[in-house]
């Protein structure tokens, strides 16, 4: 290995052999359990809102998501959610709590630069891509679907 010359062409190939290989099965299992449990918590909250606060099945999604976001923001503030993220990978990033975590952690990270230029400016530093791609794709698909409904 040592006598092999490292240049631009084979750098990526050589460096790849030194990267730790992720344990695919274990990572997927962790993501499955943690992501599933977050969804169970969401189901629990939405049943609670339906039974005790008279929300309809469809409307219950709003307060459920808002509550999950509140919990996740607080957990990020206490530093718990980032530990969970290291353990669960996509299990904590894919649910809506991961979206709230990226908003809150970006805000906290830039707190030292002040509330206007730090917190408020960087709030969507990580989560912005989700909103941009969501809106652009929904807009394009909405146009296609609307034109389709006009023709047929």
């Amino acid at each position: 290995m040592s006598d092999q010359r490292i240049d631009e062409n084979n750098f990526e190939k050589i460096s790849k052999t030194y990267q730790p290989k992720p344990n695919y099965v274990l990572n997927c299992f962790k993501a499955f359990v943690v992501g599933g449990l977050i969804c169970v918590l969401g189901e629990l909250l939405s049943e609670m809102y339906i039974h005790w606060f008279n929300f309809s099945d469809e409307e219950a999604g709003n307060p459920t998501v808002a509550t999950l976001i509140l919990l996740s923001s607080l957990a990020t503030g206490f530093g718990v959610y980032d530990k969970l993220g290291q353990f669960a990978g996509a299990g904590s990033a894919v649910p809506v709590t991961g979206f709230a975590n990226s908003v809150t952690s970006a805000a906290l990270e830039y707190k030292s630069e002040g509330y206007v230029l730090g917190v408020a400016t960087n709030l969507f530093k990580l989560a912005g891509s989700v909103i941009v791609f969501g809106v652009v794709s929904a807009y394009v698909l909405g146009m296609i679907r609307y034109i389709w409904s006009l023709i047929f």
């Binding site: 992501g35 969401g42 189901e43 999604g61 976001i69 503030g77």
Partner: protein
């Protein structure tokens, strides 16, 4: 039974995300963006509505439902107002999530100190 399906479907969506992270070597931001687009695409054929009916929070909690709600709100207003309705309605169903993320994120940033 609702809880079992929520667990299985929600966990299953997270497995897809984990595979994209590990095997396809995407960053979390790429995974989240792709999932939002996927949710919007699945809504075109009403597939995501069926999944929500089947799995409840297992389908509404993952970020894919964000793309689904964006398109859903847009189409509801498009039926009434035409092309401009798409712009009117696009945030209609997701405003609770975005507003609370901004509000709670800002409040937490004021109260807490950054860790690490």
């Amino acid at each position: 039974m609702n809880f079992v399906w929520a667990f299985l479907v929600g966990g299953g969506i997270c497995i897809i995300g984990q595979l994209l992270l590990d095997v396809a070597k995407l960053t979390p931001a790429h995974v989240m963006s792709s999932f939002v687009v996927a949710g919007a695409v699945l809504d075109v054929f009403d597939l995501y509505d069926n999944l929500i009916e089947f799995a409840g929070a297992g389908a509404t909690v993952p970020i894919t439902s964000f793309g689904h709600s964006l398109l859903h709100g847009a189409m509801e207003q498009a039926d009434e107002h035409g092309f401009i309705g798409i712009a009117i309605g696009i945030f209609e169903l997701t405003s609770a999530g975005i507003a609370s993320a901004i509000l709670f994120g800002f409040i937490v940033a004021i109260i807490f100190k950054p860790k690490g």
